[in-house]
């Protein structure tokens, strides 16, 4: 027992090593937060383009570009995308690594969000489009006020799941030397030669956040369900 507390002390207290974890967590949360926003925006945009094309046959060029985007992003590992964005696209530019992380994970997540949201839009009864049209609402207004809110509600669990996946996926950010939560734990391991405590601590932190987020989503879902009663 003595031994365990000494290890705990060595791992986290000496030289303020716990700061690797808190600073890492901060970076992880910042990247996840902004990547989720970017991914959602991108995803909704692409989903609406794809759904509009499927339903009306318009936006051919944008649809083609969207399909390319989806194929490339979903067909390659996120880590490779991260490395390419940092070492190839921004090779000759000095650029904030956190920004690169947000960009890479946001663009990646957008592709998955797009397909989730598109399935949500396509699942809405075409009668809803017709009801909107019969009231004089144009396609865009019908989409924004009638279709998207219903689609969003239907796919909310899937979207939340995507956010959680994204949070965990950012753990590869260390490959461009971003000091995120995982990297923070790993740094502690490399200076103390003690793997168990820092890595378990990292895992626990991810777990607590994920469980917390999941319960928040559950609560939101129950609130949205109000309109389904009856």
């Amino acid at each position: 027992m003595e031994d365990f507390f000494e290890k705990l002390h060595d791992t986290f207290i000496v030289d303020d090593r716990w700061k690797y974890l808190t600073n890492g967590l901060k970076t992880t949360l910042i990247i996840t937060f902004f990547a989720v926003i970017l991914g959602m925006a991108l995803g909704f945009f692409v989903a609406v383009i794809r759904a509009t094309h499927d339903k009306t046959g318009r936006l051919k060029v944008l649809n083609f570009i969207s399909k390319m985007y989806l194929t490339v992003i979903r067909g390659t590992p996120v880590m490779v995308q991260l490395l390419i964005i940092y070492y190839v696209i921004f090779a000759s530019v000095r650029i904030d690594k956190t920004f690169v992380g947000i960009l890479a994970f946001g663009i990646n997540s957008g592709a998955y969000v797009a397909e989730i949201v598109r399935s949500g839009i396509m699942s809405i009864d075409s009668g809803q489009f017709e009801a909107g049209a019969s009231l004089g609402l144009d396609y865009t207004k019908t989409m924004i006020y009638i279709i998207i809110p219903q689609a969003f509600k239907n796919v909310l669990p899937a979207l939340a799941n995507e956010c959680i996946v994204l949070l965990k996926e950012t753990s590869v950010a260390g490959y461009i030397a971003l000091e995120d939560l995982t990297k923070g734990g790993d740094i502690i391991r490399s200076v103390t030669y003690e793997a168990f405590l820092p890595l378990i601590a990292v895992a626990l932190i991810y777990l607590v956040i994920v469980v917390g987020l999941s319960s928040l989503v559950g609560r939101l879902e129950r609130r949205l369900k109000k309109s389904d009663r009856g």
Binding site: E130, A131, S134, L135, G136, Y145, P149, D228, G230
Partner: protein
Amino acid sequence: MIEVKGLRKSFGSLEILKGIDTTIEKGEKVVVIGPSGSGKSTFLRCLNMLEKPTGGSVIFEGTDLTKMNDKQLHKMREKMGMVFQHFHLFPHLTIRKNLTLAPVKLKLMSKEQADESAEIMLKKVGLSDKADSYPNMLSGGQKQRIAIARALVMNPDVMLFDEPTSALDPEMVGEVLGLMKQLAAEGMTMVVVTHEMGFAREVASRVLFIDEGVIAEENTPEKIFSSPDSPRLQSFLSKVL
């Protein structure tokens, strides 16, 4: 008010409407009857361009709808209310929001005006107490009355009804037909596709019998129901009456 000339509609190689000519005057209550698959719903949906005709023209208040661009069509639809068989209320919005969404987002009314107008319409359809409910908390008959109120808030010149009672339980048909009769009595121009022959007999100023994509017979309800001319109408009526 609505002039239909040589209206044709095909889906692929299947021709549903094979040349429809008729004129609907202001204040008229036209009831469209006919066997299923005869094209009566398609005819109604062509009137507000939910289906784009493949031939002929639909002239509404002096303008040919088949030559309009999308923007003009949306403007036109503000004046043509439509009620669907399956209601198509917006499930994510309260009843009040269902009624006020279109007039507010189209900037036809302020939010206050729309709320007031919604209140009046809800009173008219007898569902004032449901303003803050969601559609899924209502019965079928109530939903359809709300759908009618939603169309009325737009203050339309004509109301199109596409089998408004076909999806209802029998005991709820009466409340919807009652409301439609009330509208008719107030002078609303109405085009109603229905299987409710009692309603046609009582309310229609004219009955169109559509069969195999054409108007096979067109007359006052008295003539249609008591002395139908064509054998096809006779056989149809013998099945539904």
